[in-house]
């Protein structure tokens, strides 16, 4: 079942198994103290659900320190299963190792796709897709390689934008593109697009020279990317890259037997998910609608200002202003709306309305007022389509100002 015999027979898969364990250690290390998945976040209204599962808060059951320790208990249990999986690898008991890793797989998938919208980074999509392929699909070696290259290829669908064509993501930053002069930014950004879109496929090539040259490029690229994204993304991607395309590389012909149908279905699902944000009207970089359904890493440099004017039934009024100058904070109108919605629900008896504006600047461009509503409490949000209360670039949202260069943190 699940073609575990492939893992038993192929050292390349055994090494990827180890790299996947490392990825889960890194993910859980980042999550063990988060409040995002706790019942306390739900009680405070600070939790954040996916648009397709907006009632996720009712399913949260953990408590993190200082409120409780069930979350640390769960993660230390998973730590134990991962450590035990390493022991089972040493003993060559691949069925037991597989079973133990499946526990981490399901918890990780549940967190990033159902329990919270706040923790799913693009590197989690890598972990999920590679682990799914390794744990459950037949023809593991071929599909691991294809999924890996497809992730590079599909990531460029989010990069075909002024962000990377002109390089405004980086020139809008105070610190610019690390190590390189500002004038060279468009050269590097377009080179990365070409390498991910076209050259990445040569990772699957029989031509040894081309294959190795592209591998060296991507190793250098991931090491360089760490200057901004730090350890987790390179540590998630680099080991698997080197194992699949360096240490154990051999040309693997595509399988077309009946068993390969599951792998090809996964490939089709990846294509569909990446197409989703492009099928929703409006520039997804501005509206963020459908943005997280596909890969979105470094898709645009964001800054935003959200202002709310809260009017209570007794006549009291309050103003709140929330700003984000960090390029990587996505300024998703949905996130702000979800928070406001919690306040509306919690204080329904005493609230009259919440007036809300959201100004969004993309890649150092003007702040556009993409949301301006009289009462945010009356709004709803659709996850798989356009929401009329979010203005697209075609609605000519008013310009409210221009930003200065911002920061990456």
């Amino acid at each position: 079942m699940f073609s575990i015999h492939e893992i038993e027979q192929q050292p390349v898969l055994q090494w990827v198994f180890g790299a996947t364990i490392l990825s889960y250690f890194l993910a859980f290390h980042a999550w063990i103290d988060t409040q995002a998945t706790t019942i306390d976040a739900f009680a405070r209204g600070t939790h954040l659900c996916w648009p397709h599962f907006q009632s996720c808060g009712e399913w949260l059951f953990l408590r993190a320190l200082p409120n409780g320790y069930s979350q640390t208990l769960l993660y230390m249990f998973l730590f134990g299963t991962l450590a035990l999986a390493i022991y089972c690898m040493h003993k060559k008991d691949w069925v037991a190792a597989h079973l133990l890793l499946v526990l981490s797989f399901f918890w990780h998938a549940a967190v990033i796709f159902f329990l919270t919208y706040a923790l799913a980074g693009n590197y989690d999509y890598y972990v999920f897709l590679l682990a799914f392929t390794l744990l459950f699909l037949p023809h593991k070696e071929f599909f691991l390689k294809l999924v890996f290259v497809l992730l590079y290829f599909l990531s460029t669908a989010a990069k075909i934008h002024e962000t990377w064509i002109v390089g405004t993501y980086f020139s809008a930053l105070k610190t610019g593109l690390p190590l390189f002069p500002d004038w060279s930014i468009p050269f590097w950004t377009n080179l990365v697009m070409f390498m991910e879109m076209v050259a990445a496929w040569f990772l699957l090539s029989r031509n040894r020279l081309l294959q190795r040259a592209v591998l060296v490029f991507f190793v250098a690229f991931h090491l360089y990317s760490g200057l901004l994204v730090e350890y987790r993304y390179p540590a998630t991607v680099l080991p698997t890259l080197v194992i699949l395309f360096g240490m154990f590389y051999r040309h693997t012909p595509p399988p077309f037997d009946r068993k390969s149908a599951a792998g090809w279905t996964l490939v089709a699902a990846m294509l569909l998910c990446q197409a989703a944000p492009h099928l929703i009207p409006g520039d997804e970089k501005l509206t963020m609608e459908g943005n997280k359904l596909g890969l979105y890493m470094f898709d645009a440099n964001h800054q935003c200002i959200s202002t709310t004017h809260v009017v209570y039934a007794n006549g009291v009024e309050q103003n709140f202003r929330d700003e984000s100058a960090s390029a990587r904070a996505r300024c998703d109108p949905y996130r702000y709306w979800f928070r406001i919605k919690q306040v509306c629900t919690e204080r329904a008896a005493i609230l009259e309305r919440i007036q809300w504006t959201l100004d969004h600047s993309v890649n150092g461009g003007p702040f556009l007022r993409i949301v301006d509503v009289h009462d945010a409490c009356t709004l709803s949000y659709r996850g798989f389509g356009h929401n009329d209360w979010i203005r697209t670039e075609k609605d000519s949202p008013p310009v409210v100002g221009y930003p200065v260069e911002n920061i990456y943190e």
């Binding site: 290829f153 460029t156 669908a157 075909i160 934008h161 002024e162 064509i165 002109v166 390089g167 405004t168 020139s171 809008a172 500002d182 004038w183 060279s184 930014i185 468009p186 697009m193 070409f194 879109m197 076209v198 496929w201 595509p254 077309f256 800054q303 200002i305 959200s306 709310t308 103003n319 709140f320 202003r321 929330d322 700003e323 100058a325 928070r339 406001i340 306040v343 150092g364 461009g365 003007p366 702040f367 310009v399 409210v400 100002g401 221009y402 930003p403 200065v404 260069e405 911002n406």
Partner: protein, 68 residues
């Protein structure tokens, strides 16, 4: 929601086009839409070549062999 003091500095509206563009960027920005079309062409050409040449064609060839 919080009420922290503002740290985003907004420049006024008068004559404040983005000033962070350097080197070739103003030129590229004015042609960004055309360049995007070019990139999409490369994207779909690569995709079509791989889909047809590397995956669909081998399936057709294999099928035709088995029915000979």
């Amino acid at each position: 929601m919080n009420n922290e003091p503002a740290f985003i500095v907004l420049k006024g509206l008068e004559g404040n086009e983005p000033t962070h563009l350097v080197g070739l960027q103003p030129l590229l920005l004015s042609h960004a839409d055309s360049l995007a079309i070019g990139w999409w062409l490369i994207f779909f050409t690569t995709f079509a070549y791989l889909l047809v040449g590397k995956f669909l064609w081998p399936i057709v060839r294999r099928y035709s062999r088995t029915t000979e």
